[in-house]
């Protein structure tokens, strides 16, 4: 299995897009750190730090694209046959791709957190104390970490859907668009969602609610009453939906003719 994960990572590392997007992410973080330094009223340094200097949306977009292409590029380049007709089972091939994307997501979060800490140390040494309380018994730093963990989880909810769609359509455009629509959908339909939830309590268990988990942590006290959800329920809901979508994708992949 680790051989397969290494092979997937090797392909990722050799792609130019990997390095271009990494530099782009670093560039954006540095840019927003400077903006927060120069215009602290518009870009409040504490909030900017919590949001990892605007890197989470970039990570989300890029990971949606990377997930779609790790599957569809094999169909596009005709390499899926070669990847499959080896001793490894189909399941192992798919799981190795999940793991590679998991490690990739992890790498991006570690990288962006590292850069955020570095920017804080360089530009806000005396202006921002990230260990000061920020409500709910959390400091700015720990809340930043909690939001990261939550957005990691709900990003994976989207990615599990993207994996499924990429397998069904073999086409990255379709999978990426649905992923990105999914990303925006949660924010667009929040109002509609809260109306539904006020009327029927069970409606809160749909997957779109789960993608609001990071927003819930970023705005304490705002979403809980609207969605009628606790943090741990959101967390569990995400995990369950991820498992369901990955499992359907696994089933489809095992059945298909290549």
């Amino acid at each position: 299995m680790w051989t397969l994960v290494r092979q997937e990572s090797f392909k990722l590392i050799r792609k130019n897009s990997t390095w271009i997007s990494t530099s782009f992410l670093v560039g954006v973080e540095i840019l927003f750190a400077f903006l927060a330094r120069i215009y602290p009223k518009t870009f409040v340094p504490a909030n900017m730090f919590e949001s990892l200097y605007f890197s989470r949306p970039i990570i989300n977009f890029y990971m949606i694209a990377a997930t779609a292409t790790i599957i569809t590029m094999e169909f596009q380049y005709g390499t899926m046959k070669q990847v499959l007709y080896r001793r490894y089972s189909r399941g192992q091939i798919l799981v190795s791709k999940w793991l590679a994307i998991f490690l990739y997501t992890f790498f991006w979060y570690v990288l962006s957190t590292g850069i955020a800490l570095l920017m804080k140390a360089l530009l806000f040494r005396h202006r921002l104390n990230i260990h000061q309380g920020a409500g709910d018994g959390m400091s700015i730093f720990t809340r930043g970490l909690a939001i990261s963990a939550a957005s990691f989880l709900s990003l994976w909810l989207l990615l599990s859907v993207v994996f499924l769609l990429a397998n069904l359509f073999r086409n990255s455009a379709a999978a990426v668009s649905v992923g990105i629509i999914g990303y925006f959908a949660s924010n667009i339909v929040t109002q509609l969602l809260t109306l539904l939830i006020q009327k029927w309590d069970w409606a809160k268990w749909n997957p779109v609610t789960m993608t609001l988990y990071p927003s819930m942590l970023a705005h304490p006290g705002y979403y809980q009453p609207l969605l009628r959800m606790q943090g741990w329920q959101m967390c569990l809901g995400n995990v369950i939906y991820i498992a369901i979508f990955l499992w359907i994708g696994y089933y489809v992949f095992n059945k298909r003719n290549v």
Binding site: K11, R14, K15, Y77, G78, K81, Q82, R90, K255
Partner: protein, 310 residues
């Protein structure tokens, strides 16, 4: 010992289209086996199914005694393959590809050997984005051979290769087969296959029409033809006609040999008739005409069987 590849009563449908009908065969270890048949006969489908790329409806596929299904196929560790066209990542170099698909650590020397045998040194370190058709094809073949396979499955391997590369590939296949590797090769370039394959599987409309050796097929179908160059072709033809030998409509003087006595009898007749013989050649039966004959016969048989059934 179990055979390297054994297929029994394999059936495969695409929706309601029945593409493989009760296909059964075994490969002799160490042989080069040609898989031939018209376009759409099911050659690629058969190969893909054997490699676990397609589901199948009934029957069994065993490689070295182990069952192959799309879900599970550990025995494919013994198999190398190139199906239809090579899958190539444009952002990797040829060398990267070979390393990516090579199992184990002792492969570097082996990779290097394949590269030089196929004459790929000049481009192997370049990104595959810029490869020509033949370069890609060579890389695909190298990938099929990289893990010391016992069985190699090649679908149209000569596609896009120039004469020099075709010869390199032929030499490589022969040398690997002498070391014990079994090959299953489909190709429409019959002259090339005739030089390579020892055994033949003929497939038409999803059925194995005949499994035979190249020698038997050519001997049974290829009417042995004797071609003569004489001092007086016109007279030679007249003499042969009078003696009731079977000739061909060819402008050259050609006699169809019915048995081993034909040749001496022809020579006697002409020498005694005062015609000088400048050269004699025996024309081998060729794969193309033999194959067409087999396919024709099998289609006639099938039609008769269908009419009887009605």
């Amino acid at each position: 010992m179990s055979s390297i590849l054994s297929v029994q009563n394999l059936n495969k449908n695409f929706g309601n289209k029945h593409v493989l009908h009760d296909v059964s065969f075994d490969l002799t270890p160490g042989h080069i086996v040609g898989l031939v048949g018209p376009n759409g006969a099911g050659k690629s489908t058969l190969m893909k199914t054997m490699l676990g790329l397609f589901n199948y409806d009934s029957g069994s596929i065993k490689i070295a005694g182990e069952k192959v299904t799309p879900q599970k196929h550990e025995s494919l560790s013994k198999v190398g393959a190139l199906i239809e066209y090579p899958g190539i990542y444009p952002f990797l170099t040829g060398w990267d590809h070979l390393q990516l698909f090579a199992d184990g650590d002792h492969q570097l020397i082996h990779i290097q050997k394949i590269i030089s045998q196929l004459n790929m040194d000049s481009f192997i370190k370049r990104k595959a984005k810029g490869y020509s058709l033949g370069m890609k094809q060579k890389l695909g073949i190298a990938l099929a051979l990289v893990n010391f396979p016992d069985l190699v499955i090649l679908d149209e391997p000569m596609n896009g290769l120039d004469p020099e590369a075709t010869k390199e590939l032929r030499d490589l296949i022969i040398s690997e087969s002498l070391k014990g590797t079994t090959f299953l090769i489909s190709s429409h370039i019959l002259s090339e296959l005739q030089r390579l394959a020892q055994d033949l599987l003929i497939i038409d409309e999803g059925r194995i029409v005949q499994q035979t050796t190249m020698h038997d097929l050519l001997a049974s179908q290829g009417k042995q033809t004797i071609m003569l160059m004489t001092s007086d072709d016109k007279k030679a033809r007249q003499l042969l006609k009078k003696a009731k030998f079977k000739t061909t409509p060819d402008p050259r003087v050609e006699v169809v040999a019915t048995d081993d006595h034909t040749m001496p009898e022809v020579l006697h007749l002409l020498v005694e008739g005062g015609v000088d013989i400048l050269d004699v050649t025996r024309l081998e039966g060729n794969l193309e005409s033999s194959l067409l004959e087999v396919l024709k016969q099998s289609r006639i048989k099938k039609r008769l069987a269908e009419e009887e059934a009605e």
